[in-house]
């Protein structure tokens, strides 16, 4: 009975053995090349690279939390998505409902996707409407860096939640003239075309970026016809109605008023047309989900203001997201559905910084209004608009003591929000979230970190209001709260050993006690309602190891083990693992550089996930291997890669397969 899967498993293990062999070869090469140390850097390391800090942005040197930063070089020559790019990082897990363009959500340190905040240039994308943010609506073409803050979120971002935050920084202007054009093509008629250019003629600088990304997503998979216990009716089919296309344009203008003052204007337009496949892959399905998002920021930075030398950053933000779900033929959902949801956010954010001799004081003020307008385009149901107004004041100190060896970073934020919902009374909520972080610079290569904080997630409009015919609302919901604690160290060694040009090692132990988790429960009639009934205790350890060997090899290793215990009194769930998260997660990336040739191999292994809260439906382990190589010839870089080399069929969500083995190639030409 188990012979065949075991055989496949052993075959899979050969892939891992291949990885090990490669590791051994690397080791041999290290020894052989021990004397050949070169000055040229070869590897893009991910732990917190130093970049110029703009007032209001996170200064990694002064951040006591545990974070990782992905730089553009790690994804700009590949056909990939934000979800795939961050999936291999420590503490973060991604769930996808299919191939490129499909719904993707992220969890951090065992927190739910709703408890993870996603920002673009500090602009919060999570809507009050609810649901985990869909990472597939972020285009990578105009991204310069992805900052992942695990557990504790820097105060300068304003908003914070229980899991942490992912801040996506778009391309910056102001540097030297640069740009590139990237053309990509691969299996399933996947096409990606992007270009950007940035220049600074005088005081003015600007960034122009555009992308078109599309795929038929007609990958082959085993359709079990909905009968998992009956292999006789299984068939190998191409995925139907899963194609998508998206366009993204970014415009950024900056103007240096003088050496201390600068004004920035950013506008980004994104649209995606996504088809939604039916669970049984019926070819006649035509369900679609379209998203259009427009966001804009106007920011004025003034440094060295007044006799105390205040640094100010004032930002006005606008965000509008229009979602349209069309299932008029009832292919996917229960009955016919044709809905449009419009979410509009206007926010003013003010960051004031007072740098002193041994400390830096900051004041963050946020005033915002978010309006949510759902419409039944079939005209059958009443429209219930919702509005959330919120005000947040935060104070932060960054105090150096013990001869600058210890950074003490206390912060507190006070938020008051008011929900105004048609047909019901407005509800106001207030919460105070204090936190403190410590960073001890033991010497020039060892840093110790410790953080303790309280974080909150407000109930979403979906949880408060319910949904027609499926969920009833619960206006009495409280906010979820979490107490996060972590402790660990960073080791950074540069040229400390003859053959190791860079070594970074980050280990953190984390603990989170989450109360009043909002869970959808169902009554005897199958009608759902959100209630504050769950609580959970999450503990875990994260390890990130990055090594650059003899300027030829880069080895990145991430490992996370987390225990996510549901502590709800409900005997069904008590002491069970929270569903939808893997308990063990490991990833390895080994890159090699020989002249203009740079091959790499990646391995992601995850296990210990349950699809359900009672833990009776165990998800299969995941085991992915990707390989690829790049050739750089003058200004051109050609990349060829094979994803999921072992052709594993994987489902993050039961019944929604992801692609098997796939080939992709890109050509990037620097301008």
């Amino acid at each position: 009975m188990y012979v065949t899967p075991c055989y496949v498993f052993i075959l899979m293990r050969f892939t891992d053995i291949g990885l090990l062999l490669l590791g051994s070869l690397l080791y041999a090469d290290i020894i052989m090349a021990a004397e050949a140390v070169r000055a040229e850097a070869v590897v893009v390391t991910a732990i917190a690279e130093a970049t110029p800090v703009v007032t209001g942005e996170v200064d990694e040197e002064l951040n006591t939390g545990f974070s990782q930063t992905l730089t553009r070089a790690q994804f700009d020559t590949r056909i990939t998505s934000l979800a795939d790019t961050i999936a291999q990082q420590s503490g973060i897990q991604v769930r996808k409902s299919g191939g490129f363009g499909s719904f993707s959500s992220a969890t951090l340190r065992g927190a739910s996707s709703q408890q993870v905040l996603i920002f673009i240039d500090g602009l919060l994308l999570n809507g009050a409407a609810g649901g985990g943010f869909d990472l597939s609506t972020i285009s990578l073409s105009d991204v310069e860096r992805v900052e992942i803050y695990r557990g504790s979120t820097p105060a300068s971002l304003g908003s914070a939640s229980i899991g942490g935050a992912i801040n996506i920084r778009t391309l910056k202007g102001g540097g030297e003239d640069k740009g590139n054009v990237t053309l990509g093509y691969g299996d399933f008629n996947t096409q990606k075309y992007s270009a950007f250019y940035t220049t600074k003629p005088g005081r003015l600088d600007y960034v122009l970026s555009a992308e078109r990304f599309s795929s038929d997503n007609d990958f082959e998979f085993t359709n079990n016809n909905g009968t998992r216990l009956n292999p006789d009716d299984d068939s190998l089919e191409k995925r139907n109605n899963s194609d998508f296309k998206q366009n993204n344009i970014l415009l950024k203008f900056g103007y240096d008023l003088d050496k201390d003052r600068r004004v920035d204007l950013m506008a980004q337009w994104f649209e995606k047309q996504q088809k939604i496949p039916v669970w049984n892959n019926h070819p006649a399905a035509d369900t679609r989900f379209d998203v259009e998002r427009l966001q804009s920021q106007l920011r004025l930075i003034s440094n060295n203001v007044g006799s105390y030398g205040f640094n100010l950053s004032n930002t006005l933000e606008y965000l509008q997201t229009v979602e349209e779900y069309d299932d008029r033929n009832g292919s996917v959902g229960l009955g016919q559905q044709y809905d449009q949801n419009i979410t509009t956010t206007i926010k003013f954010r003010s960051y004031t910084e007072l740098p002193l001799d041994f400390q830096e004081l900051s004041l963050i003020v946020e005033l915002g209004e978010e309006k949510y307008q759902p419409t039944d385009l079939l005209g059958r149901n009443i429209t219930i608009d919702s509005k959330r107004r919120s005000a947040t004041i935060g104070i932060e100190d960054k105090l150096f003591v013990l001869n600058d060896k210890l950074l003490v970073n206390p912060a507190i934020s006070v938020t008051r929000s008011n929900d105004s919902i048609t047909l019901s009374e407005g509800v106001s909520r207030s919460y105070v979230n204090p936190r403190i972080g410590l960073k001890y610079f033991s010497n020039n290569w060892l840093t110790l970190k410790n953080n303790l904080g309280r974080y909150t997630r407000q109930p979403s409009f979906y949880e408060l209001l319910g949904d027609r015919g499926v969920f009833i609302g619960n206006s009495e919901l409280k906010s979820e709260t979490g107490i996060n604690f972590d402790i660990g160290f960073d080791i950074k060694l540069v040229n400390a050993f003859r053959n190791i040009s860079n070594l970074s090692w980050q280990t953190s132990l984390f603990y989170s006690d989450v109360k009043d988790i909002i869970v959808r429960t169902f009554n005897s009639r199958g009608i759902g309602k959100s209630e504050n009934i769950d609580q959970a205790e999450i503990t875990g350890i994260e390890n990130i190891l990055q090594v650059d060997l003899v300027n030829k090899f880069s080895i990145n290793f991430n490992a996370t083990v987390q225990n996510m215990v549901n502590e709800q009194n409900n005997p069904t769930f008590k002491n069970k693992q929270l569903p939808g998260r893997f308990k063990w997660s490991y990833s390895t990336r080994i890159g090699y550089r020989h002249g203009k040739f740079s091959p790499f191999v990646e391995h992601l292994y995850q296990s210990g996930m349950y699809y359900d809260s009672p833990n009776i439906l165990k998800a299969p382990n995941q085991n992915f291997v990707n390989v690829g190589a790049s050739w750089k010839v003058d200004r051109a870089t050609i990349t060829f890669e094979i994803n999921n080399v072992t052709d594993r069929e994987v489902e993050d969500f039961r019944g929604f397969p992801q692609p098997g083995r796939a080939f992709f190639s890109t050509l990037k030409i620097d301008v």
């Binding site: 009968t227 292919s331 996917v332 959808r520």
Partner: protein
């Protein structure tokens, strides 16, 4: 740093690195496919209760089997699966129905409920959308009916088939009972060689329309013209018909309709339901218990039904989300005792059924198990039958 020292460090470091890389490989030869269960044989009993169970967050479901005789033996969490399931039985086998967007039926033997005998789809290859099977009515070892809530046609199938090709043997088109072509057939019952099928006829916004019962001659699988409407079937004076029960004592089929449950703030509850009787020979309908109207609805929506005898029956009053009360009534006169039976009120009641010994089983999701009530005294047994953490949803008995 000396070369020797550096080399030692490097070697040790490489060993650690390789060990870290190897760690994932040491998880062993794990098996990702569905695990075949073995369930210990159940003791003999006057009958067995088969209970579909569900996680309260709807993230999974399973099956429990309980002996009717005391002391009761309970086996829980059999064949874990999705949550949207129900069960039926022909006395020897368990038929597990996976409903919306799952569209399959699995047959298990009562002797070994952990191993599937067969599993077949309830969708034709050309059909788009879910068939949402709601009931599996067994007429004989070689004939059964699948009532497909999401489609116009019920299926005639052979439960003894060994291949999918031999499973479906015919179909019955009931699309004429609803303007949208989908009559939302829900429950079926066979009485005197006739299959009675209740149909809820919801519109596209799930509002219940004129409900019907279609009558099928199971010898020919054709619809019988009842003379009660131009489309053969029997129009009902209640909406959203759900439970159907035939009482040999009164010779009537009892049908419970729940009206429309409220979804505040979107829709208010509508009280167009109640309990009616249907004469299986003359097709005459009588209202026994009316749920009232917008201004007066003493029991709320009437959400379930069980008949013990000609003079004793029970129903569930639905007054809101997880606010259900168990009432008793006289099935002959329709008189209702307005006091909650056995203090079962303000609970989440998923199903009520009567076992072979005449006792009432109440699937109480609030209590994570089944409460058994003696209809003679209306007193519940001290011990609640635990369904193992998952809450009980549907109860059927082998006898």
């Amino acid at each position: 740093m000396s070369s020797k020292y550096s080399k030692n460090i490097l070697q040790r470091f490489s060993i650690v690195l390789l060990a870290l890389t190897v760690l994932p490989l040491l998880n062993g030869c794990q098996h990702d496919e569905d695990i075949v269960e073995t369930v210990d044989p159940l003791p003999s009993s006057s009958g067995h209760a088969i209970i579909s169970t569900v996680a309260s967050d709807f993230s999974s479901g399973a099956t429990s089997v309980v002996t009717v005789d005391q002391p009761r033996t309970v086996v829980n969490d059999i064949s874990p699966t999705i949550s949207d399931i129900t069960v039926t039985t022909d006395g020897k086998n368990i038929y597990r129905i996976e409903r919306f967007n799952a569209d399959n039926i699995t047959k298990f033997s009562l002797e070994n409920p952990g191993v599937a005998i067969w599993q077949y789809s309830t969708l034709d290859s050309g059909e788009v959308g879910s068939s949402n099977p709601h009931d599996f009515v067994v007429a004989s070892d070689s004939k059964a009916y699948i009532l497909r809530y999401g489609k116009a046609k019920a299926w005639v199938v052979n439960p003894g088939a060994t291949t999918a090709a031999d499973f479906k043997t015919g179909e019955i088109d009931l699309g004429a009972y609803d303007g949208d072509g989908v009559p939302n057939m829900d429950k079926g019952i066979i009485v005197d060689g006739k299959l009675f099928i209740s149909m809820q006829a919801l519109d596209s916004s799930w509002a219940p329309q004129q409900a019907y019962v279609a009558v099928i001659d199971i010898a020919t699988d054709t619809e019988i013209a009842t003379g009660k409407s131009v489309i053969n079937g029997i129009p009902l004076p209640v909406t959203s018909p759900e439970k159907m029960h035939y009482s040999a004592a009164t010779g009537k089929i009892y049908i419970q309709g729940s009206g429309r449950l409220g979804f505040p703030p979107f829709t208010a509850a509508e009280y167009n339901g109640g309990i009616i009787t249907l004469d299986p020979n003359t097709y005459e309908i009588n209202m026994i218990v009316d749920d009232g109207d917008t201004s007066s609805h003493p029991y709320g929506n009437i959400a379930d039904l069980a008949i013990v005898s000609a003079t004793k029956g029970y129903f569930v009053g639905y007054n809101g989300w997880s606010d259900n009360t168990l009432y008793s009534f006289n099935p002959t006169t329709g008189d209702v005792n307005p006091t909650a039976v056995a203090n079962i009120f303000a609970k989440n009641i998923a199903d009520i059924e009567v076992d072979a010994l005449g006792k009432l089983w109440v699937a109480s999701q609030s209590d994570f198990g089944v409460i058994v009530v003696d209809p003679v005294t209306d007193i519940s047994e001290d011990q609640i039958i635990s369904t193992g953490g998952l809450v009980p949803d549907t109860i059927v008995f082998t006898q």
